[in-house]
């Protein structure tokens, strides 16, 4: 069993976006959630690359839906977090929260 995986900032954003998109978590909704959350446009290809890394790390699982004519006969891939993925998000939150606390520059607003 490997130790904790290192998460990049886009990977963490994508994990959170997958959670927020819920049952509808395919490429476009995930990219929208990332964009709305971060305020920055993100290329769909970059989101898929992040999902590829996360799936390889075992943090995300995917399954294919049915192909549709509107998508040129291509199936939609749906993503959800594995239990390890959920644990990593919680750990990242706890780590960031701990690091946030007690820094004078970050208290009292901008």
């Amino acid at each position: 069993m490997s130790s904790r995986e290192h998460l990049g900032s886009l990977e963490l954003l994508v994990l959170l976006a997958v959670l927020r998109a819920g049952r509808n978590a395919s490429g476009i909704p995930i990219a929208r959630e990332v964009q709305q959350g971060s305020g920055r446009a993100v290329a769909l290809g970059s989101v898929y690359m992040a999902l590829a890394r996360l799936e390889k790390k075992g943090l995300v699982l995917s399954q294919l839906g049915a192909p549709t004519a509107a998508r040129g006969g291509r199936a939609k891939a749906f993503f959800h977090l594995s239990s390890r993925g959920l644990r990593e998000v919680r750990l990242a939150h706890d780590t960031l929260t701990r690091l946030w606390q007690g820094i004078p520059e970050l208290t009292g607003g901008p």
Partner: protein, 303 residues
Amino acid sequence: MTPAAPPRFATWLLQHCGSGYRCESLAGDLIEEYHAGRSRVWYWRQVLLAIMAGAGQRMRVEPDSGGDAVPVATVSRLNPVGRRWREYRGLLLFVLLMCCFRSAWADWVYVPTGSMNPTILEGDRLLIDKHVYGLRVPFSLIHLTRGDNPHRGDIVVFDSPRDGTSLVKRVIALPGDSVAMNGERLIVNGVDASYAAGPASELQRLLRATRQHDPAVVRESGVLPEHDILLLPDRRHEILLGPVTVPPGMYFVLGDNRDNSADSRYIGFVPRRNIVGRATRVVLSLNPDRYYAPRSRRFFSSL
């Protein structure tokens, strides 16, 4: 209004040169968004970004270390050559497309010599419009479209008819024109060019080695659009030429540095098919006399 079908070539590129991870789903997402009102530009941009993201990921990850980004069911069945090809084909295609673009559409070239002083200086990097005179098959001189013909005064890049080296000179006479030179004086179609003293400030920009020849900047006009030329009194070329008629399909070109330029006076007329593009502007300029310090005032200046 958005056309009905998304760009098929872009979709093909994505499926054959993408990362291999959920390419079908990514293509489906893009097609769905396109039908929802996105533009072709958006579609192409997403495809190219996806290919680059895939190539970048492959470069970051050592494939043999088990850090492969592609799910490995398909890749592991391939032999090592096939696996390498699958891993690097996106990057290879990107490099190939870039080379084709530079060969046939636009390029930038470094100028190491001063044959076009004072217009172009040693150390300039020029933007070359390579499709203005007709689109060519990349890496060849075969034209696919006719394009515009060079005009008098154009600064053109061409392959020397003598040895194939790439040269940059100014077009002086077109096919059918009569051209003559009496020393430094140019006569085109029986009309003498006019000469007046040019701005002395241009001398300061020349390299030290050129300034040692006590050069003079002269403004040439009358037979082609007004421009500056450089004369080197101690290297004067007292050439008596012509008048000769430029043959069909040929061009007579000269360097602006009239006393230090191997041009049509020495290499003969330049065939139209050898002319690969027009120099439009300086994009970058480094001064060899000052350890290649940037000459920022020349950046993006038009020629």
